[in-house]
């Protein structure tokens, strides 16, 4: 078994004008998805990220503060799961609730540094 990270990229909820009703429905879907992974015993961790960004770039260490409205897409959160391979994670990612909002799931394998 390997560890994978599912990274969620898309618009910030606050910038989409979602109604309270939609927010509640969406939350229900996230909740159900999390439960499903937990019950399957594959969930290792995860977090949601606040939309404020401080970016430090280049050798001058230039600092910019950005809000979600200033960037097209933002990383909204991630989950780490254990799975056989990419195909298995792709299957898990079917339940990601925000595809209809133009959201993206990026699957990456966590590198394991072995002791030699």
């Amino acid at each position: 078994m390997k560890e994978f990270m599912m990274i969620f990229v898309g618009a910030d909820y606050a910038d989409l004008g979602l109604s309270p009703e939609e927010l509640q429905n969406r939350m229900g879907k996230w909740f159900a998805w999390g439960n499903k992974m937990e019950e399957a015993g594959i969930l290792r961790g995860g977090n949601a990220l606040n939309p404020q960004i401080r970016r430090i770039v280049g050798k001058n260490r230039t600092v910019t503060d950005l809000s979600s409205a200033e960037v097209k897409e933002i990383i909204g959160g991630y989950y780490t799961v254990v799975a056989e391979d990419f195909d298995a994670v792709q299957e898990i990612a079917q339940d990601f609730p925000d595809y209809d909002l133009g959201g993206t799931v990026e699957i990456r394998e966590v590198t394991v540094f072995e002791d030699h």
Binding site: Y13, P20, E22
Partner: protein
């Protein structure tokens, strides 16, 4: 772990919090308040993804209260906009405003604000749905089949009017109350009708609009000053109509008229509730248009089969209704009733009193009824011509399908 959330919790809570915060800060800060409340829900929707609080409602209320403090700071920083607020309302008082009875009071104030006669009638519905009912612009636009841009314009125009005519956030009293209540009931009636006669193919939207109108009407009935007989009659009317909502659309998503509805699908608890409300509505002997409309709806529900409908009685109620509300659509409906009662000559006298233009965008109803009349007197040729006119003016796709089916039947008869 199961989700503990009750249906529509966020939506209902949104209206509650916006109203309470408006009571604290005043209508002039409505936009800030709405944004703040929206933030609370976004926050909740993210932090509750993994674990929901034991008492979600208390969590939301607490979050909204905390937003009060944020708004305090924000406003103070912006322009020192908070004269005397801290002296006049200490935090104990603010806490009391979050009690259930006070929340209901605040919501009622918001309803009266949304339905204020100074607001353009078209703006009232959008504003009420946004502020009292927690609908998003997108939801309002799909519920009312209006462009999002138009809804936005209506909302900002409503806010502007409220500011400019300095409408106060209260429940009107004394002489002002009856007129203001009238306006509130009219808006609730329109919201309900938008749902009940919705052009939307989506059944969910219909039900939600009808449900919202009923929820708001119930608020009127909870308060001793707004609990007038017309409001009971309006609620009864909504119950009677809602009882038929499920039966109105078949599994193929087609509209069914009263004749073809499966009467077993009519929801009897709602009919009973409507009857109870009607008993309360008629204690006072002055009847409103809602009384008569409810009486008509009840008369339809009383017939266990379409053929057993008491058309004479229905016509009588329409005559009464027309006396206090002389509008062309009622005349047209009386013609329809006469056709059902096989009194074609009388139907014609009603039809002669109406013109298509009287009904504006609903002129297809006029042509449709004329078509029915000609069919009844066996003039198939003219029946078809008028059905074509109806088809040329109808915009609602469900109604259009219904008319097209009718036309196919006529063509068959002709051949």
């Amino acid at each position: 772990m199961e989700s503990k959330l009750i249906d529509h919790l966020f939506r209902y809570h949104s209206g509650k919090m916006v109203s309470v915060l408006t009571r604290i800060f005043g209508l002039s800060h409505l936009e800030i308040i709405e944004d703040a409340v929206q933030d609370t829900f976004i926050k909740a929707s993210i932090s509750w993804r993994h674990q929901q609080p034991e008492n979600p409602e208390a969590w939301l209320t607490k979050a909204a209260k905390n937003r009060v403090l944020d708004i305090f700071r924000k406003l103070k920083a912006e322009k020192n906009l908070l004269p005397n607020l801290q002296q006049s309302r200490d935090f104990i008082a603010v806490n009391e405003l979050f009690l259930d009875t006070e929340i209901e009071d605040a919501q009622l104030r918001m309803i009266f604000t949304a339905c204020h006669p100074n607001l353009d009638p078209r703006d009232r519905i959008s504003f009420a749905l946004k502020t009292v009912s927690g609908f998003s612009i997108k939801e309002i636009s799909s519920a009312l089949l209006t462009k999002e841009e138009t809804v936005k314009k209506r909302l900002s125009r409503a806010r502007k009017t409220i500011k400019e005519s300095s409408i106060s956030f209260h429940i009107p009293q004394g002489k002002a109350l009856p007129e203001r209540l009238e306006s509130v009931m009219e808006v609730l009636y329109l919201i309900f009708n938008e749902g009940f006669h919705s052009n939307s193919k989506e059944n969910l939207i219909r039900k939600e609009l009808c449900g919202e109108a009923m929820r708001l009407c119930k608020m009127l009935l909870k308060n001793e000053h707004t609990r007038i007989s017309a409001a009971y009659a309006l609620f009864a009317l909504m119950c009677f109509h809602s009882a038929r909502l499920e039966a109105k659309i078949n599994s193929a998503n087609e509209i069914l008229d009263l004749k073809h509805q499966d009467r077993n699908l009519w929801h009897s608890p709602l009919i009973q509730l409507g009857n109870t409300m009607m008993t309360k509505a008629v204690i006072d002997t002055e009847y409103s248009c809602y009384h008569y409309e409810a009486a008509i709806a009840a008369e339809h529900l009383r017939a266990s089969h379409f053929d057993e409908t008491d058309w004479a009685k229905i016509l009588y109620w329409y005559e009464c209704l027309y006396v206090i509300q002389p509008i062309p659509i009622h005349v047209l409906t009386m013609a329809v009733v006469c056709l059902q009662n096989l009194d074609f000559a009388k139907a014609k006298t009603y039809l002669d009193q109406v013109e298509a233009t009287d009904l504006a965008q609903r002129s297809y109803l006029y042509y449709g009824t004329l078509s029915d009349y000609y069919f009844a007197i066996k003039n198939i040729e003219k029946a078809i011509t008028h059905l074509d006119l109806a088809l040329a003016t109808v915009t609602n796709s469900l109604e259009k399908e219904y008319l097209e089916k009718k036309r196919a039947v006529l063509i068959q008869k002709k051949e």
